[in-house]
Symmetry: C2
Subunit: 412 residues, 2 copies
């Protein structure tokens, strides 16, 4: 007997037929003798509808009320799945975030889980052989007693945090794909599903644009060593495929240098030309952006032709581009720069692999291969286990395919 | 300054435009210097959608999970109204049933309110000049900690119970009609809106088919002497009409003998012919029906031609007709009756008025008037302040109009 957490996303619970299918997945695990806790998202589209109403009610909507509204979608699916399970003879009950409770900080709209009290849920396993169905994406701030949400994709984090709290043997993230791929299969037909991927690699992939898991859920899984599978809810419940295991790197026997290629279209580039090369100038630029909660990613500094000033290029999320430009233009005199150039038709393509640690020249090979295809690189950043290049958006597919082939990831 | 509870039903919060209109009604009362608590229903149609999903999940759906699912609709409107109020500069926050808490018994699906702790809400009035927006229709069972709902129309009851708990000066039930009418204006063009109606009369009207208020909300208003208005949310928020006040009979100056005519199509008639006239036979008939939660209303017993048996006629809710027939047919030998006749194309028409107490022959005039119009009366019941006749459904409009005119209720 094992203790499992199964998580089903919005497309997996999109309507009653899909919810009945989820019940069959749960049944299989129950009949195998396991204790099962399920975490569910809202029906696909429901959260967007609720968010749109909040925005319609006020452009400056109160995040506390936003959370009270949008957290309701998961309550519906949790109750419906509990009914569907009972209907096939499996004892089940739903748990709302505040009922366990799932405690979070008070960062409404993107709260962080502080703890999950799994005791009532474990009592249900032990005394009533009961499947627990927890509403994902939400919690409660213990001081204010108000409902909080974890941000988009937060149900992944709910599931991993619950798995850590109840010391589950496994956390299965059911989604609409059958695992984690070496890159987006819609772009590269030769993309391969990986059997295993290391936590660190998955974390980079999620951060760099792979949408299969929320970044924070991977962080949590890594910290708490939660054995996490990504698998498909569209498999036959009687004969499912194993999916991709996210695990410690020691558990991966054949380590490759590069394991995946990710890309993110959610990028905008800003270049400040002829920035005065004096102490404190970086602070003058980046502190106001940080104060406005704008996340700056790639930063490249190049000495200008005149050698007395520098050119500074960096990226911000595309959604924050206009706001970032306005802040920098307002601070032009204070910062002291010549002019500001921006571009939104850019894409960040990244290669990720723990093997890079022990292999030199991995990125250099990419620069050469991209140059040969005529892809101009606007910016580069590297870290221990990944490198990223910023390129013109129109070269996205070409660049992804080139790197996928270069590092031997194509399906044979 | 007064303390008010305003309640808005599903059609009044059907979409964001309607919710913004509700905010204007609230604004008017806030600007008049009042402390305001608002109780909201789910957007019209939403509760039906949620109920349909529960039924789709299982015909034998768990009422505890049903409550967890259907209570979510009010959370959405409570949050959205709070945002809409903030958007026009009025401090506001939403309250979910469990947050105050609103405690109820554990009769899931039709729970009764045990108490409402209004202290946090009053603190909001006093410390933050804050409008409280409470999700109607729901509460929490204190022992199990599970969400409960009060049954259809339960938000009326939430509002009156809240008004009693916080000792509100007034409870305004905003709906899609502008008050309580002497009868259904769709049937009788001469129907008049009443300025005032006594609690006891309103209770009978609600019980006898007038759909303007939930019966239990009127009971609560009567017991706790809550001054309750029924009024229209479709009025111009800047210049609303007063609606109908439900109040003590002493507060009604010109008391009429009959104040309203109600009708209910939700009736079915069952007649058992030649029932053995022996002790215990009534119990043999009605106990099994009561055990099956079937509510028996009008009961008439007539001695048969042979004087050794009786004919027994009674009504049950139309929705329970088939079930009641099956129970009685199964118990035929035990009860001992000749045959069973039933009819579902029947209607109960009632006249209500506190003045009946002190006027003899009120009902007799009705029997005569209906006979003159050729309306056959199948059954009659009377109580201190109302009488009802069961007639063929096709005579509904004729009978209602006849009684409305007979008792001088037509608009002049």
């Amino acid at each position: 007997m094992a203790r499992l957490v199964l998580k089903f996303g919005g497309t997996s619970v999109a309507n009653m037929d899909r919810i009945r299918n989820v019940a069959q997945h749960v049944r299989r695990e129950v009949e195998a003798g396991h204790e099962v806790a399920v975490v569910v998202s809202a029906m696909s589209g429901k959260t967007n509808e609720l968010v749109a109403w909040c925005k319609d009610a006020s452009i400056l909507y109160d995040m506390k009320e936003y959370d009270a509204v949008v957290a309701s979608g998961e309550l519906v699916t949790a109750g419906l799945l509990a009914i569907a399970l009972q209907n096939i003879g499996i004892p089940a009950r739903s748990w709302q975030g505040w009922q366990l409770p799932v405690t979070t900080d008070d960062a409404h709209g993107s709260a962080r889980i502080l703890g999950i009290d799994g005791s009532k849920l474990i009592e249900g396993f032990e005394k009533r052989k009961e499947v627990a169905v927890m509403a994902g994406f939400q919690g409660i701030h213990p001081e204010s007693g108000r409902v909080t949400t974890l941000g988009r994709g937060g149900s992944d984090t709910s599931a991993v945090a619950l798995a850590a709290a109840i010391k589950a043997d496994r956390c299965d993230i059911y989604t609409d794909v059958d695992g984690v791929y070496t890159t987006d299969p819609r772009i590269v037909k030769q993309a391969r599903r990986m059997d295993r991927v290391a936590f660190e690699e998955m974390l980079e992939m999620a951060s760099l644009g792979a949408k299969v898991l929320q970044v924070r859920s991977v962080e949590l899984a890594m910290v708490h060593k939660v054995k996490t599978f990504v698998r498909s809810s569209f498999d036959d419940p009687a004969d499912p495929k194993p999916g991709t295991l996210i695990c410690d790197e020691e558990d991966i026997v054949e380590q490759q240098v590069v394991t995946g290629i990710a890309y993110s279209k959610d990028e905008a580039q800003i270049t400040l030309r002829r920035v005065a090369d004096k102490p404190g100038v970086a602070a003058a630029i980046f502190v106001p952006l940080a104060d406005a909660n704008i996340n700056v990613d790639m930063i490249i500094q190049v000495v200008s032709d005149d050698a007395k000033t520098t050119d500074l290029t960096f990226t911000v999320p595309a959604a924050e581009y206009e706001r970032a430009k306005a802040i920098l233009e307002a601070a032009k005199a204070e910062i002291g720069y010549g002019d500001l150039h921006g571009a939104t038709d850019v894409v960040k393509v990244s290669a990720i692999g723990i093997g890079m640690r022990s292999h030199a020249g991995v990125a250099a090979r990419a620069f050469k291969a991209l140059a040969e295809k005529g892809v101009n690189i606007r910016a580069i950043t590297t870290s221990e286990i990944k490198f990223s290049v910023l390129i013109d958006a129109e070269y996205t597919e070409l660049a992804v395919r080139t790197l996928h082939t270069l590092y031997g990831l194509d399906k044979t």
